[in-house]
């Protein structure tokens, strides 16, 4: 310790400054620790993936039979490169992306609108409940032949498949959110003189947002599955088409290459939904 500090008593505001500095330092240290933890998680994920790919590559390098049956990371990368160069990768991803997005949007808008408006009438929701459950239990793939008869072999049938995969889930999650609103909260709105529509708009809809977004995250995958199943049935382009064609020609690495593009598409769409959620519900970050 230096001499001047020992002999001159510190002024009170200097002490306060010092305390504030210490608090800031603690906060910074805390933040650093959290960043380190996140970095460690990501590093482990990368290591895990690398180990898996290395094992896969190793198993297929010396054995033609295994390489044919399972493909290999290097062959998959090779196919990705050629597909990127000839443009089919971008074209197929774009087509499937559009089908998925449109199905996702239409299915969620319809499902959420119905789900939320069912809050209005306990009677109507009781009447239609068994029908919703029945529709929800139909495997969408079983509908594919009919959908193609109704909507043709073009884009519309894929969007329809994607929409159908989404709509019931969106309906159920948003309805669950709407009826889950605290009864006391509704009573409070009533004592403030709110009409049923005001209760709906100012309380029920925003209170259901969390459930609606949970549904959105879930249905990104469903919308993609719907689009790809639609493409399996009949199509001339799209990732599902690429997977189906490569599979029937026994070009396994190409199947995997198209799958990689499919996964990337799902990740990007999920990421966007998460960003929109944060944007629309800023208060949730604070809790």
């Amino acid at each position: 310790m230096d001499a001047s500090a020992t002999f001159t008593p510190a002024k009170p505001d200097a002490a306060a400054d010092e305390a504030a500095d210490r608090a800031a330092a603690r906060l910074a240290a805390h933040r650093r620790a959290r960043r380190r933890a996140t970095a460690l998680v990501i590093l482990s994920q990368v290591a895990l993936l690398a180990a898996f790919l290395a094992f896969w590559e190793y198993m297929t390098v010396f054995d033609k039979q295994t390489a044919f049956m399972f493909g290999s990371p290097s062959a998959i990368a090779g196919f990705l490169m050629t597909m990127a160069k000839d443009g089919s990768l971008w074209r197929d991803t774009y087509v499937t992306g559009v089908e998925t997005l449109l199905g996702f949007a239409v299915g969620n808008v319809i499902g959420t609108l119905i789900g939320l408006s069912l809050w209005y009438s306990r009677f109507v929701s009781r009447v239609i409940e068994p029908f919703v459950i029945a529709l929800g239990s139909i495997p969408i793939i079983a509908l594919a032949p009919i959908i193609i008869i109704w909507f043709g072999t073009g884009l519309t049938s894929k969007i329809a498949m994607s929409t159908l995969s989404v709509v019931i889930v969106a309906l159920v999650t948003s309805y669950k959110g709407a009826v889950g609103v605290d009864e006391d909260q509704i009573n409070l709105m009533r004592t403030l003189g709110a009409s049923k529509f005001q209760i709906f708009r100012k309380l029920v809809v925003p209170a259901s947002l969390a459930d609606i977004f949970a549904g959105l995250k879930l249905t990104v995958g469903f919308a993609l599955i719907g689009a790809i199943v639609g493409e399996f049935m009949s199509s001339s382009e799209g990732l599902g088409h690429a997977i189906f064609k490569a599979g029937s020609l026994y070009i396994i690495p190409k199947v995997f290459a198209a799958l990689v593009a499919t996964i990337a598409l799902a990740l990007v769409l999920t990421f966007i939904v998460g960003k929109v959620e944060k944007l629309l519900m800023p208060w949730r970050r604070l809790s």
Binding site: D182, D184, Q185, N187, L188, M189, R190, T191, L192, G193, A194, Q198, K202, L203, P206, A207, L209, M281, P282, W283, R284, L286, S287
Partner: protein, 275 residues
């Protein structure tokens, strides 16, 4: 803008009742619940009057039907029999000019403190700038200046309950129905918020019906304490509280001469040990 939103006109509507008509008169109200086909009488036969500018506290054993009574009074559930008159008139549905507050603050998490306070004004169609200004005034009065833009999750329990109180008071209700609003707060916060409530309510001569488990709270804040019996509940005893102090300072009230005596007598009435 709707004419009812102007306080002067709203007060005029109230004035249509003959002068001296109590804001709330309850006569022989009874209420039962149907629990799995079994009829459970909750409110036996209850009468009470709330006069203008009066604070009445209701205490009673747990589960005796206090919340049920409050919900019946503000029209959220219907009574089986009896009459409830607001300003001399029987009303179906929600009475206007009544503020309602519970132990849960029921703040909307997606609204800032200010926007939570504005809720009632918004519902009644008050213009945004007007509603904002009035809400700021009430928040300031409750010591929340500078917290208007905070979301509820970033406020302490005491502050949240103050925001809830502001949300109730900004509508300028003639009558406040409060259901254990301070029960979840720590002792110091409770004393402060009780004092603020008493001050704001008494300076504008609003009437309050306060349900509480806290006998000391009841005696220190109220002009009258009504003790209820177990289910099916009825009035067991009524105490007019005369403490001889300024009735907006909860600490002075608790230190006054008669305080302990009232608390002891009400305690005995509630018969806690033999429930």
């Amino acid at each position: 803008m709707n004419a009812v939103d102007t306080p002067a006109i709203a007060a005029g509507a109230v004035g249509m009742a003959p002068a001296g008509t109590p804001p709330l008169v309850v006569e022989h109200v009874a209420k039962s619940y149907d629990a799995d086909g079994r009829i459970v009488p909750v409110i036996g036969d209850l009468s009470l009057t709330l006069n203008e500018g009066e604070i009445v506290a209701i205490v009673g054993p747990s589960g005796c039907g206090k919340t049920t009574l409050l919900n019946t009074l503000c029209g959220l559930i219907g009574a089986d029999s009896g009459r409830i008159r607001w300003h001399g008139r029987e009303i179906s549905g929600q009475p206007s000019g009544v503020g309602y507050m519970l132990q849960k603050d029921l703040l909307l998490p997606w609204r800032t403190a200010l926007r939570n306070v504005m809720l009632g004004l918004e519902i009644r169609g008050v213009s945004l700038s007007d509603a904002e200004e009035r809400s700021h005034v009430v928040l300031d009065k409750l010591g929340l200046h500078g917290f208007a833009e905070h979301y509820p999750t970033t406020l302490s329990g005491g502050m949240r309950q103050r925001v809830a109180l502001a949300r109730t008071l900004v509508n300028e209700p003639d009558v406040l129905l409060l259901d254990e609003p301070f029960a979840a707060l720590d002792f110091q916060t409770k004393l402060l918020i009780e004092s603020d409530t008493a001050r704001l309510v008494r300076e504008s001569r609003r009437s309050v019906l306060l349900i509480t488990h806290d006998i000391e709270e009841a005696v220190s804040i109220a002009d009258r304490v009504i003790v209820l019996t177990k289910r099916p509940t009825r009035v067991k005893a009524v105490y007019d509280i005369a403490l001889g102090t300024e009735r907006t300072d909860m600490i002075a009230a608790r230190e006054s001469a008669g305080f302990v005596d009232y608390v002891r007598r009400i305690w005995a009435d509630l018969d806690v040990t033999r429930q």
